[in-house]
């Protein structure tokens, strides 16, 4: 009798989890199909860097993307520091380059919105991404938040806000949060000017943030390979 119930329970669990997994995969395929419509884009916007040891101005940027994972940010008249990781600040690359299996992880409410939570596990053993969690708006088929753990570059989080280009799955604003390591150079090398101001104690391992606000996109108009050099 006990064996029979155990067998039925395992069978039920396998079937339901299989359905859930299929369901997650189906939702993800729909989101992917929406994003797949974008072969390339060139966008303009503004980038804000909020890292405790970096003083950088808000700058005008041009962003280029080409399938499957080519992504470049050019700062107008300047140097930019971007958190390490090839998929940084770019959802398309994260979604389209990895062979992964999807697991349904239920639902979560973020900013008053009920979102579907799906965990992505890469199939390739040498993939830099270890685990990625996506928070998906099922009605609009948009990824509003991701949380990705990588082998080399720690954990980072992306939050997206959508507006004019939501039909393509392209965000109006991306906030990228990541772990930073400590920064220090010997004073003997930098030979810096001591202006008498007290050096503030920098918190250790504080998270860094990069905010990109997109002003306009040019979708599927062709982007030259030279832009990615």
């Amino acid at each position: 009798m006990f064996m029979r119930y155990t067998f039925l329970f395992i069978l039920f669990f396998s079937v339901t989890s299989g359905f859930a997994q299929d369901d997650a995969m189906r939702l993800l395929q729909k989101v992917k199909a929406k994003m797949d419509r974008v072969n390339d884009y060139a966008a303009t916007g503004k980038m804000r860097t909020d890292v405790v040891f970096i003083k950088a101005p808000v700058s005008n940027i041009r962003v280029y993307y080409k399938k499957p994972n080519r992504f470049k940010i050019n700062r107008d008249g300047g140097i930019s520091l971007l958190p390490k990781g090839g998929v940084s600040v770019n959802l398309n690359a994260l979604m389209l380059t990895n062979d992964f299996t999807a697991l349904d992880a239920g639902k979560a409410t973020i900013a008053g919105k009920e979102l579907r939570v799906i965990k992505l596990l890469p199939l390739q053993e040498n993939s830099d991404v270890v685990l990625s969690t996506m928070y998906i708006d099922e009605l609009r088929l948009l990824v509003l938040k991701t949380n990705t753990t990588t082998r080399e570059n720690g954990t980072y989080e992306m939050e997206m806000q959508f507006g004019n280009y939501a039909d393509y799955g392209l965000p109006d604003k991306v906030t990228f949060t990541f772990n930073t390591k400590d920064y220090k150079l010997p004073k003997g090398i930098t030979l810096e000017f001591d202006d008498g101001s007290k050096q503030q104690q920098l918190p250790k391992n504080k998270k860094g943030r990069i905010e990109i606000s997109y002003a306009s996109y040019q979708v599927n108009k062709g982007v030259s390979d030279a832009m990615f050099k």
Binding site: R48, T49, D50, F53, I54, K55, A56, P57, V58, S59, K72, I73, N74, R75, G77, G78, I79, S80, L81, L82, P83, K84, S88, N153, F178, N179, T180, K181, D182, Y183, K184, L185, P186, K187, G188, I189, T190, L191, E192, F193, D194, D195, G196, S197, Q199, L202, G208
Partner: protein, 291 residues
């Protein structure tokens, strides 16, 4: 006064050894530029080791503005030696050649004579700096191009926009001129005491080397007294490459982080210049010239 200054400048630029300084700066700047052109990437990797662990750096880091910053940082410690070669020779050189006594028999006051000699050495210092600016800034801009600049301090990194840099260099070179004129005034003062130029040249350099080492060492005792050394204020030009931040922590384009501190340091250097030059004039006026 103008004719006295012209005579002193003529004397300086008539001597072949004056041009050694210009040749030396050309050689040093060219070698640094060549080294950065060939192997700059590895230099950057060493410098940005901590940063590269977390960030990808996009843009032309090794551009003319950055190269000029490296050259200025390296050279402005050594250029005082070249300034001392001329400034410390102004009086002692004349005494050594036996022309000083003859010079003061002319119907010109000793004060005017000293001021013209000091101004001549200041003009030499400024010309040397202009030469350095042409080579290190303008030539580097031609060779390496221009882009934004990253100023790496010991505890923070300042990113400057491409259009927000040139004016900072203009002010930095003006500040460096004030610093080098202070060195010239020190050499000039020490020159009054000697009858051979070697002594004041070595003494000027010794003062600069000792004070620079003491102010660079991160030892509490030296940190307390370093503000009394004029050499501490000689690197005040770097203050032009730091920016203010707004309430959100964004750097404000076109701002200087602590302008009062930079101006205060410039004031300290100017005060030293007046003190050294004034003392040199006073001592020379009362000096019994025997050579």
């Amino acid at each position: 006064m103008w004719s006295l200054l012209r005579i002193e400048l003529y004397k300086i630029f008539k001597r072949p050894r004056t041009y050694i300084s210009f040749a030396a700066i050309w050689a040093i700047v060219s070698l640094i530029q060549l080294a950065i052109y060939v192997d700059g990437q590895r230099y950057m990797e060493f410098f940005m080791k901590d940063l590269a662990a977390s960030f990808e750096i996009q843009g032309n880091m090794l551009n003319g503005y950055f190269v000029c910053f490296i050259i200025l940082q390296t050279l402005l410690i050594h250029v005082p030696l070249l300034i001392a070669l001329v400034a410390a020779d102004m009086i002692a050189g004349e005494a050594n050649m036996g022309t000083l006594r003859l010079l003061i028999t002319k119907p010109v006051s000793r004060t005017k004579l000293m001021i013209s000699k000091f101004l001549a050495s200041a003009v030499y210092a400024v010309l040397l700096l202009v030469w350095m600016a042409i080579l290190s800034l303008f030539l580097s801009m031609v060779i390496f191009g221009t882009d934004g600049m990253m100023n790496a301090k010991s505890y923070e990194i300042i990113i400057l926009e491409k259009d927000d840099i040139f004016w900072r260099y203009a002010l930095a070179f003006a500040y460096a001129a004030v610093a080098l004129i202070t060195v010239a005034s020190l050499g000039f003062l020490l020159s009054v005491f000697a009858e051979n130029a070697i002594g004041p040249i070595v003494a000027t350099m010794s003062v600069i080397i000792v004070f620079t080492i003491l102010s660079t060492m991160d030892i509490p005792l030296f940190q307390q007294v370093k503000h009394y050394f004029f050499t501490t204020h000689m690197i005040g030009w770097k203050g032009f490459f730091d920016v203010k931040v707004d309430a959100d922590g964004n750097a404000i384009v076109g701002s200087i982080a602590n302008l009062p501190a930079v101006l205060r340091s410039a004031g300290v250097l100017l005060a030293h210049t007046f003190l050294f030059t004034g003392a040199a004039i006073l001592i020379f006026r009362k000096k019994d010239i025997l050579s």
